[in-house]
């Protein structure tokens, strides 16, 4: 499984990419693999307020629904509406076409508290124990 070095991660299995004051987020390779076939995604609305570690989106497999948490606080600036008609993108390209939303960060210090790829991989190993 892949965890690109340029991204940061949460313990709830979201990845985060930073471009200036904005971040894009989706779910990690580990998460998409565990969820298996994604058949439904509920994305947030543009303009919606996001609160760090609070549910902001829902992803569903054939069997169950899972919450997606906001990795940082801020305001939703863009959403991937393609996921509504083609949720399988989350499985096929979780770090690319399978992105969920873009946020304008309210507090840039929150970026620092996210995990690096190495820290995330270590946390997965801990979880597996």
């Amino acid at each position: 499984m892949k965890y690109p070095k340029e991204l940061k991660y949460t313990k709830t299995h979201e990845w985060v990419r930073r471009e200036g004051g904005k971040v894009t987020a989706g779910i990690t390779d580990y998460a998409q693999h565990e969820i298996s076939d994604v058949v439904f995604v509920e994305i947030p609305k543009v303009g919606q307020a996001a609160q760090r570690e609070k549910p902001i989106s829902v992803v569903e497999s054939v069997k169950a629904a899972f919450d997606i948490y906001a990795p940082v606080s801020g305001k939703v600036t863009k959403v991937n509406t393609e996921l509504e008609s083609d949720p399988g993108r989350v499985n096929h390209d979780c770090y690319g076409e399978g992105w969920f939303f873009e946020l304008e960060m309210a507090d840039e210090r929150e970026w620092q508290s996210l995990m690096t790829a190495e820290e995330y991989e270590n946390s997965l190993k801990q979880e597996a124990k």
Binding site: S36, D37, V39, S61, K63, E84
Partner: protein, 367 residues
């Protein structure tokens, strides 16, 4: 019931085939091997092999077995031809569903009853309580000694003949069953496709599994897990005990009146059921398709104009229809095709429409 997990006899085989485990009642079962969607499609277009060894298996054998079963079951048993299978509910005196079963007549005085795994002990005790002291036949629960495999999908006949040799496989029509060299073979299933269900002694189970895979490799046979089993049966609107049926539902409400024979003058639960038929059922099982976005799940409320109608009993994304579908109970007067209802998903009402069942019919081109 103990908190211990129960394991399938082919557990090692499932690990070898890459099973992702899930739980079904107390049983550890393969949820999927590759993915639920792939396995679902394999069964609809080619074939899938399921291990359903968790199910309960009862044997009735000896003089008087047919008359005994005829005494309480809601379909005619003494008249049943040898080599036939019948689906029916086990009814309590109130006409409600204790379980739903398939009964196979393997000989003049030899019957096999397949029951839901979670109900095995309950059913066994209940049937035992009906046994006359003078019974000359045996009634046994050898569930742990035998395994069940289900080969389902349009390529099933070809794979079966290649696996065991076309001469050694008995010819079977839908809902027929035979004893053969390997155990019991029946043309039954729980997917809405053509296929077979086998009962093998546990000592032959792994060999049979391998034989089927060697023969099926070229036909696209996939191991299929409980995830696909559930989406397949839901599309075919086959009821699942514990979801669409329980001891508070009648076969009329559950829409399986066809599995009750009114020509039979007496069977357990006939009187209250016939009263219900005359007076009308309070609730009915209905199938619906989502109009708005959202996947209905078990226990979601069904409402209309702010009035609660009932609850969803099963719901899923339908891989074949590419729609979100569900089953649930509503007042009988509301259970008509075209009726607009709302399903409450994550506290928000979403529009849905009641449709005719089943959601999926196998195409005529599939045998």
């Amino acid at each position: 019931m103990s908190g211990c997990l129960r394991y399938l006899p082919l557990r090692e085989k499932h690990i070898e085939y890459g099973a992702k485990w899930g739980q079904f009642g107390p049983w550890e079962v393969p949820l999927y091997y590759s993915s639920i969607l792939e396995e679902h499609e394999a069964v609809r277009k080619r074939a899938g092999l399921f291990d359903i060894s968790h199910m309960g298996k009862f044997i009735f054998e000896g003089p008087g077995a047919a008359a005994f079963l005829d005494g309480f079951l809601p379909r005619p048993i003494q008249k049943m031809d040898q080599g036939k299978a019948l689906y029916m509910p086990l009814l309590n005196p109130g006409g409600k569903i204790i379980d739903d079963i398939i009964l196979y007549r393997l000989g003049e005085s030899r019957f096999l009853m397949i029951v839901n795994a979670a109900n095995t002990e309950k059913d066994f005790r209940w049937i035992q309580s009906k046994l006359p002291c003078s019974a000359a036949f045996i009634f046994q629960n050898p569930s742990d000694e035998y395994g069940l495999l289900a080969l389902q999908g349009p390529k099933s006949v070809r794979i079966l003949q290649q696996a065991f040799g076309s001469k050694s496989v008995p010819p079977l029509q839908y809902y027929e069953a035979k004893l053969w060299d390997w155990g019991v073979i029946a043309r039954t299933g729980y997917t809405g496709e053509d296929g077979f269900e086998f009962m093998f002694h546990c000592s032959k189970l792994a060999e049979a599994w391998e034989k089927l895979f060697r023969a099926g490799a070229g036909e696209g046979l996939c191991p299929a897990g409980f995830g696909a089993r559930d989406t397949l049966r839901l599309e075919a609107a086959m009821r699942l005990y514990g979801h669409e049926m329980n001891e508070e539902t009648s076969p009329l409400e559950a829409g399986i009146e066809w599995a009750v024979d009114w020509d039979k003058e007496s069977f357990e639960g006939r009187e209250p059921l016939s009263k219900e038929k005359k007076e009308g059922s309070a609730k009915r099982l209905a199938g619906f398709e989502m109009v708005d976005r959202g996947i209905p799940r078990q226990d979601c409320a069904i409402q209309k104009g702010g009035r609660i109608l009932g609850k969803v009993t099963s719901g899923s994304f339908s891989p074949t229809l590419k729609k979100n579908i569900g089953l649930g109970y509503v007042p009988a007067a509301e259970a008509f095709a075209g009726n607009r209802i709302e399903v409450v998903i994550r506290h928000k009402p979403a529009q849905a429409q009641i449709v005719k069942l089943p959601f999926y019919h196998r195409p005529k081109s599939n045998p």
